[in-house]
């Protein structure tokens, strides 16, 4: 294998298949060999490799002491999982997160449907909504603290505020994106407006709302933990801060990993739920005849 070939292969691995590298015909075989390895195996190898590199760098002292070796973090993670106090912190975070999301959904979905189903209402409220939406939720934090103190109520309020706009907008888009042919069909068949709404508008909007939920859940978790970090209300964010003050880098990262895992788990759960409820949607169909 010539030098050029190795370089070309490396470039390919870095830049992906999009890179056009002129290479001699002999290089085809090894590249194909790599392509035969399943993607998941490559992904896990890359992850393991990255961890191994960090481990070596950390242990050899190249990195600062603030970045502990991954094996130490895994050890701390095992400790944390067997610690009841940590679970109670996790519960605090999850509760304010879930509470905020619930409020955002119960207010956001009906509001979106109400505004979205009337061209006039939508038109007149657009300016107000477009102005309020881009406000970063954290910017409202001082107001939330003034109103609700630094407890769980304040966190719920902030999560609800940040998730509300996402849910509202997705619902609005969903309601306004009902297929005109489907709408005309049920109108021509004389369905009452309430039935048109229940049978056509609601299911059409469901896919948008589901996407909104996943987005809102992700943003909601960020807001919850950020609030705990800043204000110091009980939860994973606060626990992370405590470990920082105590100088336990490994324990701190263990909590960060836990927060990440929660986010991934909830996201995956919502995805599974969506696939079941919206199995008919073109994004989830099985056995489609094309």
């Amino acid at each position: 294998m010539g030098g050029l070939t190795v370089r070309a292969m490396l470039l390919r691995m870095i830049n992906g298949a999009s890179l056009q590298v002129r290479e001699p015909a002999t290089s085809v075989a090894p590249v194909n060999a790599i392509r035969r390895v399943p993607t998941w195996a490559l992904q896990w190898s890359a992850a393991a490799g990255t961890l191994a590199i960090v481990e070596v760098l950390s242990r050899s002292g190249v990195l600062t002491e603030h970045i502990p070796p991954p094996t130490a973090v895994i050890g701390a993670l095992a400790d944390a999982v067997s610690n009841l106090a940590v679970w109670s912190r996790i519960a605090d975070t999850m509760m304010s997160w879930a509470g905020g999301l619930l409020i955002a959904i119960t207010v956001g979905v009906p509001t979106g449907m109400l505004i979205g189903s009337s061209q006039r209402v939508y038109g007149s409220l657009r300016l107000v909504i477009e102005f309020l939406r881009p406000i970063p939720p954290i910017a409202v934090l001082p107001l939330a603290v003034l109103l609700y103190g630094s407890g769980i109520q304040m966190k719920i309020y902030l999560v609800a505020f940040s998730a509300f706009w996402i849910v509202l907008f997705q619902t609005l888009y969903g309601v306004r994106d009902v297929d005109p042919v489907a709408r005309d069909t049920v109108r021509a068949y004389g369905l009452k407006r309430s039935d048109q709404f229940r049978r056509v508008v609601l299911p059409s909007a469901a896919f948008y709302i589901a996407t909104g939920l996943r987005l809102a859940a992700a943003v909601g978790l960020i807001v919850t933990i950020a609030t705990e970090l800043i204000v110091g209300s009980s939860g994973i964010g606060y626990a992370i801060n405590q470990e920082r003050f105590a100088g336990n880098a490994a324990a701190m990262y263990a909590l960060v990993v836990i927060a990440g895992l929660i986010g991934v788990a909830v996201g995956a759960g919502l995805r599974v739920l969506e696939r079941r409820v919206l199995h008919w949607h073109s994004a989830h169909r099985k056995g489609e005849n094309s």
Partner: protein
């Protein structure tokens, strides 16, 4: 029973006003199969939307059994060209068919009507499938079954076979002729396909380019039952087809000529 008198439609207003339908007058008698044929963009869909009460006319009127059509009449059923969008993907085939009649009938009657309609279009065993699991031709059959189960006095169809392949198209044309013979339904079918209109209709309403007017109403006295091969081999078929083609071509040419001159 269906009377259209001096119907017109102008989209927009002021500077941006576009007169799409200029002046249409024709009638459809009970039990008749009327095809409305005209060039693409001449306002055929616009006409059907006014007749079905989905959209108000700018002037003129459409009446049904002597009653002016204002809202959506209860006795009309519509079949659109876009079957994939007209059938609701979250409902199964039988749920789609039952949706318009659910509130009108008892549950058993609703189920019976659905079953009969599915049988009439030859899809008995597909009631629990989702529309998107079926081929295009089968989906359009479902849409037709939904219309049949509704037992409309008039069945309005907007280019129903324009998005299926040639073989499926002639199958569906024959299905419509069979259903008409079997149930005696009144059908108004809009198409831009001259062959199709002559093959199916008792009368063909020929429309000119937009702003559209009725160019001529052609009686089609071809023998029934019709057949894709023998009917189309008839001298009479060729003559009628040629006649309708000439009517449309003249109008389109003279309009294009005027456009190049101005």
């Amino acid at each position: 029973m269906l009377e259209v008198q001096h119907l017109s439609k102008t989209y927009g207003s002021g500077e941006a006003a576009v007169r799409v339908v200029d002046d249409l007058t024709f009638t459809v008698k009970e039990g008749e199969f009327v095809c409305i044929v005209g060039p693409s963009g001449c306002g055929k869909t616009t006409l059907l939307k006014m007749i079905s009460g989905l959209m108000p006319a700018t002037s003129g009127e459409a009446s049904f059994d002597g009653e002016l059509i204002a809202g959506v009449p209860e006795t009309l059923a519509l079949v659109f060209q876009e079957y994939t969008r007209s059938l609701l993907p979250w409902l199964t085939v039988s749920e789609n068919i039952a949706l318009p009649i659910k509130k009108k009938h008892k549950r058993e009657d609703c189920e019976r009507l659905t079953r009969e309609a599915l049988h009439a279009v030859g899809l008995d065993s597909f009631s629990d499938h989702y529309p998107w699991q079926l081929s295009g031709g089968m989906q359009q059959r479902v849409a037709i079954a939904r219309a049949l189960a509704y037992h409309p006095k008039v069945l309005l169809m907007d280019e129903p076979f324009a998005s299926v392949d040639a073989q499926t198209r002639s199958d569906l044309e024959d299905l419509m002729l069979g259903l008409r013979a079997q149930f005696g339904i009144t059908v108004v079918l809009v198409t831009h396909d001259i062959d199709e209109s002559v093959y199916l209709a008792d009368r063909v309403v020929v429309l000119g380019p937009s702003p559209t007017r009725v160019v001529e109403i052609v009686d089609i006295n071809l023998p029934q039952p019709r057949d894709q091969i023998t009917t189309k081999e008839l001298h009479e078929f060729a003559n009628l087809r040629g006649h309708v083609m000439r009517l449309i071509k003249q109008r389109v040419d003279s309009r294009n000529g005027a456009a190049t001159l101005s």
